[in-house]
């Protein structure tokens, strides 16, 4: 029954997307407005199909219907409710349902938003492209990755989800967030293709997808940070580039997407970078497909590569089609893409944006190359090798420092050309704060030059952001005669895009500080503890109080209870644990973390207690990790602010005035 509903939903989705593509295609060809209006409606058919497929699978999971192979493999009667629901994205086939649902949601959102322009060829083309992408994913589910495959006879109990995926509630949020980000880049892609197809690659399509791009970017950022958090709480701490190839794969579209968010402003403002922006959008979408291919087809080892799945060739072919269409269209339209703008001075906001784009493109290239290099080496020379943290650190650190510098300087630069006087007024004090911070960091004995330069640049950037916020709030306060909290809010409301951007930058700077601090000032030890004896490690006193075993049907867990003190203050009892799951060979450790503003104490159980009541415990002191998550929250907040409608409403007739990022009024008021 559920299988029938599910397969029916998949068929409905496929048919709806096929009809949508055909009707829209014919409508565009014949310039028939009624057909375009009709074609748009198929989006809602696709949405209904995706919702139905989603519900059918959740129904099957919640009712533990093991006649479905997917439910059998990813659920068991003992699986707790949360992980039963999350079981839908615990494995490949189910996660494609989620993908299709998110995609259909975005398409419906766009179809509704542009309902008054359904006969506009740009919107019709974009809808067509979106439906074609949806068609691919529905076909994938009807073909090689069918989540509604049945088993006969019906097993009495299921295997349960992968133990790693049923250990922490973040598992329920991280994948949907990531998908909302990943899939969200389909909309900008559809509009970019539409702009190329219709030849209307002015600034109109950019304004249309600005919001959708920001939303997708925000979700992707939060999804990546949550993934890191999950891995910190569940997997044990292995440094940044060791998380998983899939973390690199989700970083790739994030990097090009971030580049796009910046370069779009240049095009809106100066009409430049048309080809570049189209390329970035197409690249971002291609990289989401590439990332999915790399991690889901099993060509790279990954926590996320779910057994051997036959979808590799499908994803690869789709990637080839996407890239061919994108590159082909740009080549075809190349002669008409000449940008009218130019750069007047190397010291200007637009040059800073160009620098920013160069660095982000380089970062994306480094991450891509490092991720696929083992594949290249194996294919070309039959060599098996690895690329890891030392490579990524060495290649990305200089690029990251340049980005921090740009983040400190660029928001203060005016468009077109900067005068020395403006630079002095806006940058001198923040620059001194940065320089002094660097010297202080050196005097305090930071490890090496990179760390102190990072702290200096971070302080420079934060001081610049603070200055800009204060100046803006003061100007609003003076103009409206309100106190500073109201003035700050008013300033933000007057230009949400500017201040949202600054808040995002604050979050990124916090993350940069946390990255460096946690990499350089963390310690890692392993101690053997005997019952009721106290051992001093890295400034903490640890006392092993004994262990406890819990046995649920889902898992058997050994918890070691360890009392923690620091400088005579009791910090409570931490219980790192190891769980074993029925039918799985290796135990899964669950670290216990005492989170602090400055440092985390991170305990892992290395070996279970012996009969003589001895345990081996991994003791890590990780500096400033919590600021990674706080920074992520600040980025999310900034993205929300940037999405707020501006109080200073732009006139309907002037779409080119969409960007009012330049605080002309504010700076004037402060002068």
């Amino acid at each position: 029954m559920k299988a029938f509903v599910g397969v029916f939903a998949l068929a409905l989705g496929t048919v709806s997307s096929v009809f949508g593509v055909i009707v829209l295609g014919l409508g565009l060809k014949k310039r028939d407005e009624r057909m375009l209006e009709l074609g748009r409606r198929f989006v809602f058919g696709v949405l209904a199909a995706a919702v139905l497929a989603f519900l059918a699978m959740e129904w099957a999971l919640l009712s533990h219907d093991f006649s479905l192979e997917y439910v059998y493999e990813n659920n068991a009667r003992a699986t707790p409710l949360l992980y039963t629901i999350a079981g839908l994205w615990a494995n490949l086939e189910g996660s494609i349902i989620l993908w299709a649902l998110v995609l259909a949601g975005y398409l419906a959102f766009a179809a509704r938003r542009f309902r008054d322009r359904s006969t506009d060829p740009l919107v019709a083309w974009a809808t067509l492209v979106g439906l074609a992408v949806a068609l691919f994913f529905f076909a994938l589910m009807l073909g090689p990755a069918n989540p509604f495959k049945t088993l006969s006879p019906t097993p009495s109990d299921g295997l349960g989800p992968n133990p790693l995926l049923q250990n922490h509630p973040l598992m329920a949020i991280h994948p949907p967030m990531l998908y909302l980000g990943y899939v969200g880049f389909t909309l900008p892609f559809s509009f970019a293709i539409a702009a190329l197809a219709t030849g209307r690659f002015g600034e109109g399509w950019l304004a249309d997808i600005r919001r959708a791009t920001l939303i997708a970017w925000g979700f992707l950022t939060v999804g990546i940070i949550l993934g890191g958090w999950w891995s910190y709480e569940v997997l044990g701490w292995g440094g940044y580039w060791a998380w998983d190839p899939v973390e690199n794969a989700s970083l790739l579209p994030w990097l090009t997407g971030t580049a796009f968010i910046h370069s779009v402003i240049v095009q809106e403002r100066r009409g430049m970078l048309r080809v570049w922006n189209l390329s970035l959008v197409i690249a971002t979408f291609s990289l989401t497909i590439l990332g999915t291919f790399l991690t889901r087809s099993g060509v790279l080892d990954s926590v996320h590569s779910f057994t051997e799945s036959p979808i590799g060739p499908w994803l690869l072919s789709f990637l080839a089609v996407v890239a061919a269409v994108g590159i082909g269209l740009i080549a075809w339209r190349g002669d008409r893409l000449r940008a009218p703008g130019r750069i007047d001075s190397p010291v200007s906001r637009e040059s800073a944006f160009l620098g920013n784009n160069l660095i982000f493109a380089a970062l994306a290239f480094v991450v891509l190359l490092g991720t696929v290099y083992p594949l290249l080496a194996e294919a070309l020379q039959g060599r098996q090798l690895s690329v890891g943290e030392p490579y990524f650190n060495r290649m990305t650190t200089p690029l990251g420092l340049v980005l921090l510098f740009l983040m400190a300087v660029a928001p203060a630069l005016p468009w077109r050309a900067a005068s020395g006087e403006v630079l002095q007024r806006r940058l001198l004090v923040p620059a001194w704060i940065g320089g002094l911070t660097m010297v202080v960091a050196l005097l305090l004995g930071t490890n090496g030059i990179t760390d102190s330069v990072t702290f200096g640049l971070a302080a420079f950037a934060l001081a610049g952001i603070a200055r800009q916020m204060v100046v803006g709030a003061r100007a609003q306060g003076r103009a409206n005669g309100v106190a500073w909290p109201a003035a700050t809010l008013r300033a933000i409301r007057s230009n949400p895009r500017l201040y949202g951007g600054l808040i995002v930058h604050t979050g990124i700077v916090l993350i940069a500080i946390a990255l460096v601090a946690s990499s350089s000032y963390s310690t890692r030890r392993e101690v053997r503890l005997t019952r009721d004896n106290t051992v001093n490690v890295s400034g903490y006193s640890l006392t092993y109080l004994g262990s406890r075993i819990t046995d649920t049907k889902q898992k058997v867990t050994v918890h070691a209870r360890i009392r923690v003190e620091r400088d005579g203050d009791a910090l409570g009892v931490l219980t790192p644990a190891i769980s074993s799951f029925p039918g799985r060979t290796s135990g899964i450790g669950t670290p216990a973390v005492k989170t602090g503003i400055v440092r985390d104490l991170y305990l892992t159980l290395v070996s279970s207690p012996t009969e003589r009541e001895r345990v081996t415990v991994g003791v890590q002191v990780n500096s400033m990790i919590v600021w990674l998550w706080i920074g992520g929250g600040v980025v999310a907040l900034g993205t929300l602010v940037a999405l707020m409608p501006s109080l200073r409403r732009r006139s309907q007739r002037d779409p080119l005035g969409a960007d009012d990022a330049e605080p002309r009024v504010l700076e004037g008021a402060s002068a």
Binding site: S351, Y373, P374, S386, V453, E526, P655
Partner: protein, 149 residues
């Protein structure tokens, strides 16, 4: 006055960087062993260096690295010994020769080429007199406005 403030800041930063640079470069045996541990992969766990892993084998490898450094083996000898035993995949840092030239050199080349192109373009733009909008440009703007109307 302002120039002076900038110059003083520049001096401060340069001095700080130079001082930091001369202090850096710890070549004590322990530092060498730790640096090597950062680039040897934990054989039991994918993608994590032995320096960061608490797996028993990783701890043994770290001890072995210290022993080898103390015994006077050069960094290259130690790397070679590990590659010989475990294969190239034990190193997290790909070799910089042959195909490795690509993975190390290509990003650097592209960044330099990109920066060069930007500088070149900006020079050319500055040399050319300010362009006037052509008919095609105005048409584009007009169309963009219409797109959004």
């Amino acid at each position: 006055m302002n120039r002076l403030a900038w110059a003083a800041l520049a001096l401060l930063v340069v001095v700080a960087v130079v001082v930091a640079a001369t202090q850096a470069g710890d070549s004590s045996p322990r530092a060498r062993a730790n640096a090597l541990a950062e680039e040897i992969q934990c054989p039991e766990c994918d993608g994590v260096s032995v320096a960061q892993s608490l797996a028993p084998t990783s701890r043994a490898i770290v001890r072995d690295l210290r022993r080898r450094v103390a015994a006077g083996e050069s960094d290259d000898d130690i790397r070679a010994a590990y590659v010989e035993r475990y294969g190239e995949s034990i190193r997290l840092n790909p070799e910089g020769d042959g195909l490795g030239l690509l993975v190390w050199g290509l990003p650097v080349t592209l960044v330099l080429a990109g920066a060069g192109a930007l500088v070149f373009a900006s020079r050319r733009w500055r040399r050319e007199p300010l362009m006037h909008a052509t008919g095609a440009d105005e048409e584009l703007v007009e169309r963009a406005r219409r797109d959004d109307a």
